[in-house]
């Protein structure tokens, strides 16, 4: 049996932009990037702002043209209509026609996929329910908040029940409820067998959702792989939440307490795993109470800081939000 081609296969993709007043200089946005994204996974393209994530997506969608290299999407070359029939795309900070309503915009998107009228109507209703915009279905988009536009952006990316969805900073502009809803949508897409390729500079999102990640910096690939391959699964230390102790009393605890921080009237102690028993006993002897003990492993954020160090010139990024 012939194996299905990967969802995305990038080979040596490079892209530079002309910059400066006379456009005489060039800035390398993506440099010799090679990636394979298998089908059915949630793939995170991570990196600070300006690291080449959005440029990579635009190259894959044929909005920009590469200087060199090539890529295939669902086994088809970039720009092939057959591939775009099975794609969904949410751009970063999307702008949709503000004279339309969500109903009208999704109907328009459905027409571009050649959906018949009945299917367009059903799919529109279904998607607006999914992203929580059913009640605003007939409100003009000029009255929408940034978060509502982002939700509509997610909805329009799913009109055709895509096999592969590109989401560029999908959590941008969303409130906590909206972010949760998008996270659930991404997981649902995965459960339905779709591949989700999303770019983000919010590491917490990637850690929660991704099966595999690629880290970009300055347009180059720094690391790629499954999260469990990239991150150490060993416990680095324990976090002990205690009450009934003041910061001044921490100095009297066994030497195992590495650091601590106040959280309201409680304290969070960072303790090596082997010192945990002694620290717990000592806390209780001093009239304190251990509320919880949590093992801490290396996070993507730790890895990111370790690999990337400080952001390069022109880059900004967020560890969590």
């Amino acid at each position: 049996m012939v194996e299905a081609p990967p969802a995305v296969d990038i080979r040596g993709l490079s892209k530079s932009y002309r910059i400066g007043h006379l456009r005489a200089q060039r800035r390398q946005a993506v440099h010799d990037l090679s990636l394979r994204v298998p089908r059915g996974v949630v793939f995170g393209c991570l990196g600070p702002n300006g690291s080449g994530k959005s440029t990579t997506l635009k190259l894959l969608l044929g909005l920009l043209f590469p200087d060199s290299g090539s890529a295939t999407i669902l086994g088809q070359p970039i720009g092939a209509r057959a591939a775009r029939q099975s794609l969904g795309y949410l751009p970063e900070n999307p702008y949709f026609y503000d004279y339309l309503t969500p109903n009208e915009y999704l109907d328009y998107a459905g027409r571009l996929f050649g959906l018949p009228p009945g299917a367009r109507k059903d799919r529109t209703r279904e998607l607006l329910d999914l992203v929580g915009l059913a009640e605003a279905a007939d409100v003009h988009l000029r009255r929408f908040s940034k978060g509502m536009l982002q939700r509509l952006g997610v909805a329009q990316a799913l009109v055709n029940r895509p096999e592969l969805v590109f989401l560029d900073e999908p959590m941008s502009g969303l409130d906590p409820l909206g972010r949760r809803s998008v996270r659930e949508i991404i997981l649902r897409l995965k459960a339905e067998g779709s591949t989700v390729f999303f770019s983000t500079h919010i590491l917490a999102d990637a850690e929660t959702l991704c099966d595999e990640v690629a880290l970009l910096r300055g347009g180059s690939l720094v690391a790629k792989g499954r999260l469990d391959q990239i991150l150490s699964l060993d416990v680095t230390h324990m976090e002990v939440l205690v009450s009934g102790l003041g910061p001044q009393e921490v100095s009297g605890l066994p030497a195992g307490v590495e650091t601590f921080r106040a959280m309201g009237e409680r304290l969070v102690l960072h303790v090596p795993e082997k010192e945990l028993g002694d620290v717990v006993v000592a806390v209780e002897q001093r009239g304190g109470r251990v509320l919880s003990v949590q093992p801490v492993r290396q996070s993507l954020e730790d890895y990111f800081f370790a690999e990337m160090g400080h952001p390069a010139k022109g880059e900004t990024w967020t560890a969590g939000a």
């Binding site: 909005l63 775009r84 949709f96 328009y108 027409r111 571009l112 050649g114 329009q156 055709n160």
Partner: protein
């Protein structure tokens, strides 16, 4: 074709919702006021003046829409990136561009159609009869508007919106005074004939589409004349749109 129609439909809806057709109000005011005033002032000439005014207003308002809406037709989409999610769907750049052109073309057709209705209504209200020959001038005006949209579209893809607006306006004005260009050899002695000819071919000859005086003053306009200007408009618009398609295919959408 289905996708071109979807883009055209949306472009027409945009024009209506962005109040492009509000110019019809000005046209209605011009027709009403001129009807009221001129009907009192002159005998027999009033119908000609109303026809003249009506056709001129139709031409002016149509040209302004074709030029300024035409320039923003694709460039606004590039600037706002509203076309990014669309081009990620199975919609080619060619289809998008043709849909935008067709959408504005249809908007102008509705605009010209409603103005023509208004012009006939004014003439009938003044009991001056509905001269069917007017439709020939209206048809020619509409062809000129399509040429203007094509030019605006091409220039807006090649340059910035501001430069495209100014250069399209210059071409429209130059095209309306193409007889001056014909005599450019007298003004610039030594200008080679081939250069003159090249300028004449490059600049759209909008004088071809000006049938207003001929229709208003009763000079005959044959179907042969109409066929010739239709062929000219089709060739010019077709060439310009083809160039626009080629330029848009190569345009990077950052």
């Amino acid at each position: 074709m289905r996708r071109v129609a979807a883009v055209a439909r949306n472009t027409f809806r945009e024009s209506v919702r962005e109040r492009v057709l509000y110019n019809l109000l000005f046209f209605a005011v011009i027709m009403t006021v001129s009807g009221l005033l001129l009907g009192e002032l002159s005998i027999r000439q009033d119908a000609k003046i109303i026809k003249d005014l009506g056709l001129a207003a139709m031409d002016l308002f149509g040209t302004l829409i074709a030029l300024f809406v035409g320039v923003g037709l694709v460039s606004k989409e590039i600037e706002r990136r509203s076309l990014h999610p669309l081009l990620a769907k199975p919609l080619s750049r060619d289809e998008f561009l043709l849909g935008k052109f067709a959408g504005l073309g249809f908007t102008l057709l509705v605009n010209v159609g409603l103005m023509t209705g208004g012009l006939y209504a004014t003439l009938l209200a003044l009991r001056r009869g509905a001269d069917p020959a007017l439709l020939k001038a209206v048809f020619a005006i509409y062809l000129a508007l399509l040429v203007t949209v094509a030019l605006a579209l091409l220039l807006s893809i090649l340059t910035s919106t501001a430069v495209a607006s100014v250069s399209t306006l210059c071409l429209v004005i130059a095209g309306r005074y193409s007889d001056v260009i014909l005599n450019l050899g007298d003004v610039v002695p030594g200008m080679p004939a081939w250069a003159l000819r090249a300028v004449m071919i490059l600049i759209p000859n909008f004088r071809n589409f000006d049938l207003k005086d001929r229709v208003v003053y009763g000079d005959p306009v044959t179907f042969g004349d109409l066929g010739w200007i239709t062929a000219y408009a089709a060739a010019y618009t077709g060439t310009v749109i083809t160039l626009a398609v080629i330029a848009f295919r190569r345009r990077e959408l950052t």
